[in-house]
């Protein structure tokens, strides 16, 4: 395989691996912060136990999110040197700002939170986890503004053989980036909600610590509702933004081949890229695709045939990832509604079937988030920066195939090993349930050496 293919494979693998841990961090940091806030305000020790239990899982997950994040920054230079050189003037800024504004805040206050139980006041301790939660989400904002720029480049001119920034405000208010930020973080809230509900369901099915897990489940359900509303709303606006700025991606997502007005949505559809058509088109909702694309049932949708073959993204991957993501999104939305209602009623622990469904649904938002990134990145091909630079032009010139094979093998080995350990630890501590002994945590000692 050539350096380009290998580098793409490596970037996809390392990014998707990184994104197993990030969404949970985005959501569970907020939930943990909320739990600790409830403890500080009410003094109810169940909330402290919740903070400790879910916080421990948060930390095990967080560790891998942090270390796999460094890879992301290094890889742009290592494997995508031509890209970095060409767009660094504009793309480097949000990455540097992320580190300065968000990453420091997150990493410093996570230390205060883990080690500060006996060293800072209750309120300061709760503020620390809020700062971590804010910083994690802020970090996502800058990363998604950077990615938003790759999707919909704004605020630049081509000058001196590269893209140079001329309008910073355009980059940070890029609608594509902002919508993508909301869509991504809220999908992370869904992941966290299903994580909390799924693990709570596991314990409720075994009648362990019923009060503790019913309350956790309820919190997860309400948070999930917030996530669902944001995911659906931002998803709708995201589609409009894509239709407007990335016609090839939109056409591939919906498998539209011919340009026409008032395009309907076929519930059953089988794309046939070879013959540039759909092999099956059944159960059509009239004008639906046009409505979704431009919020106008008679709007014109550009078909893939309007673009030369080499300018189209891989249709199957984009189409199926999008369809399955939407399917999972719809299912999880319904599940969250049911969860909110049932968890507000009495004896949640007796609804065995529902709890089993919620346990099995735990991985679904994870899957949806991964598929969302496939749509975003595969759908942008053949561009690395839409309309500006091709992916094939961005790869490093100084790097050879054996080098990338070596790194790909290395990443695969290390990531698989660490991933397996991390999931094992998560499962172990999730099963163990909350610790009743709070002695190590609320020891109200004075600060030594003061």
């Amino acid at each position: 395989m050539d350096v380009l293919t290998l580098s793409r494979l490596q970037f996809a693998a390392t990014t998707m691996f990184h994104f197993i841990f990030v969404p949970l961090t985005l959501g569970l940091s907020i939930l943990t912060a909320y739990m600790e806030t409830r403890y500080v305000r009410t003094g109810d020790e169940t909330y402290l136990k919740m903070t400790k239990f879910w916080g421990k899982l948060f930390l095990i997950n967080f560790a891998l999110g942090v270390v796999t994040g460094i890879t992301q920054e290094f890889q742009f230079g290592m494997n995508w040197a031509e890209y970095s050189r060409y767009v660094g003037d504009i793309f480097g800024a949000p990455l540097a700002i992320e580190a300065t504004v968000a990453f420091f805040l997150e990493s410093v206050f996570i230390g205060v939170w883990i080690f500060g139980w006996n060293k800072v006041s209750k309120v300061t301790h709760a503020i620390s986890i809020w700062l971590v939660a804010i910083a994690t989400n802020l970090s996502a904002l800058w990363i998604l503004l950077a990615n938003g720029w790759m999707q919909n480049p704004v605020g630049y001119v081509l000058r001196n053989g590269r893209a140079e920034m001329v309008d910073f405000m355009a980059v940070v208010t890029n609608p594509y980036g902002i919508i993508k930020f909301v869509h991504t973080v809220s999908s992370g809230y869904m992941v966290a909600a299903f994580f909390v509900m799924g693990i709570s369901a596991w314990h409720l099915l075994r009648k362990n610590q019923v009060d503790f897990f019913v309350r956790s489940f309820r919190m997860g359900a309400v948070f999930g509702l917030l996530g669902v509303v944001l995911v659906l709303l931002s998803g709708d606006f995201h589609a409009v933004e894509i239709a407007k700025t990335q016609p090839t991606k939109f056409a591939a997502m919906e498998s539209v081949w011919e340009t026409k007005r008032g395009v309907g949505m076929n519930l059953l559809i089988l794309p046939d890229p070879k013959n540039e058509c759909n092999a099956v088109e059944k159960i059509c909702i009239p004008n639906m695709v046009s409505l979704l694309a431009f919020h106008d049932p008679n709007s014109e949708i550009k078909g893939l045939k309007d673009f030369p073959k080499e300018m189209r993204p891989p249709v199957q991957a984009t189409f199926w990832s999008f369809r399955i993501m939407v399917g999972l999104g719809s299912f999880t939305a319904l599940a969250v509604l049911a969860a909110v209602i049932l968890s507000m009623m009495k004896s949640l622990e007796k609804r065995t079937l529902f709890l089993q469904i919620m346990l099995l649904s735990l991985p679904l938002p994870y899957l949806a988030a991964q598929l969302g990134w496939i749509v975003a990145e595969m759908g942008r091909q053949p561009w690395i920066v839409y309309g500006v630079l091709k992916t094939s032009e961005g790869v490093s010139k100084a790097v050879t195939s054996p080098q990338v094979i070596g790194s790909l093998v290395g990443f695969t080995l290390i990531y698989s090993l660490l991933g397996a350990i991390d999931i094992y630890l998560l499962a172990k501590y999730a099963r163990k349930g909350p610790d009743d002994d709070l002695s190590g945590i609320i020891k109200p000692t004075t600060v030594k050496g003061a």
Binding site: I60, A63, M78, G88, A93, V120
Partner: protein
């Protein structure tokens, strides 16, 4: 022009502060199995750096991000030219981060032993590799119109390796002094003992490094052109001597401060000598990457300068606050008292 110089200074400062902060983490990790005799002592060692190591590592990410934003051409070429070295560095840093977090999560003997080895190796390798990388940057990389003419093996030249050894010894002393301040009793005394015993070796290597630098690099050209600059290496030498003097007096905190100044001024010595190069070409200076031919546009530099001047001081303020919160030495009692400790 001024902005490019501002960013060169910031670039140097970010690297220097990074090495000062992560240096004692590397040192602590390298001494993990040498200094600590029991599991309790090992946990104390990890917990001295527990609250701060992650925040310290972010200086590296910021240094990388700043290189990307301010000098994208240098970022692109440096990272792709040094692919294999950076990969090893990356793997070490990945393993290091999780090893702190995971070691205490299970009880098994084998589990802990495995992470003990991981901690040792994953702190030693970056210390060595950073030294090798910076040694080669000081010396210049074989770059010409066709690109990079070297390989990973060619980085392992005598001068690169000597710089690697310098970094390893410097961080060992730095970490040992950190531990002597951050632990109590016998453990603290033994940590100080290691610092004292390693110091003469560090001195020998530092002298050899300065002498070899005269022959292997052009770093001294800037100093000879502006002799006032010699104040930087003089501070480095004085601080290095200060470590010994202060440690002998038993003033370990002051000795640690001196080793902080040593790390900062050693990095500064190299960076001052590099100016205006970021990476000199060892083949022909015409192909050197300088702050002028590899920087971002004035507009981007201006935006980044505003961001840096607002946020870096804020970061420094809350980092100082955190070091104050955790200023007390760590004892085995503390570690057992906090169930979320490492």
């Amino acid at each position: 022009m001024e902005l490019q110089i501002t960013w060169f200074v910031l670039w140097g400062v970010l690297w220097a502060v990074y090495f000062m902060l992560d240096g004692f983490v590397f040192g602590t990790g390298m001494l993990h199995n040498i200094l600590a005799r029991t599991d309790g002592e090992k946990r104390v060692l990890i917990n001295t750096i527990g609250p701060v190591w992650d925040g310290n590592e972010v200086w590296l990410i910021t240094a990388g991000g700043a290189t990307f934003a301010a000098f994208p051409t240098t970022y692109a070429l440096m990272f792709s030219y040094l692919y294999t070295a950076l990969l090893l560095l990356l793997f070490s840093l990945i393993v290091r981060g999780v090893s702190f977090e995971f070691r205490g999560k299970l009880e098994g003997e084998g589990w802990k032993k495995a992470w003990d080895v991981a901690i040792q190796v994953s702190n030693f390798l970056p210390a060595l590799l950073f030294g090798v990388a910076f040694g080669n940057i000081f010396k210049g990389l074989p770059m010409d119109a066709a690109g990079y003419q070297g390989s990973f093996i060619s980085l392992l030249n005598p001068y690169g390796l000597l710089t690697g050894v310098l970094f390893v010894l410097l961080f060992t002393v730095h970490g040992a002094l950190w531990l002597s301040v951050k632990t109590v009793g016998d453990l603290s005394a033994r940590a100080k003992g290691i610092a004292d015993k390693t110091w003469p070796a560090l001195l020998v290597v530092a002298v050899a490094f300065l002498a070899y630098t005269k022959f292997a690099t052009k770093l001294f050209d800037n100093y000879l052109a502006n002799p006032i600059l010699f104040v930087v290496p003089v501070i480095a030498v004085a601080a290095l001597a200060g470590i010994r003097v202060l440690s002998a007096k038993g003033a370990t905190l002051a000795a640690f401060a001196a080793s902080c100044v040593t790390v900062l001024s050693v990095v500064a010595t190299g960076v001052v000598g590099l100016f205006p190069n970021l990476i000199p070409s060892s083949i022909d200076p015409a192909y050197s990457l300088t702050i002028f031919n590899s920087s971002s546009s004035p507009y981007t530099l201006k935006i980044m300068t505003i961001v840096a001047f607002i946020f870096v001081p804020i970061v420094i303020i809350y980092k100082i606050w955190v070091y104050r919160v955790f200023r007390a030495p760590v004892t085995e009692e503390d570690v057992l008292g906090n169930k979320q400790a490492y």
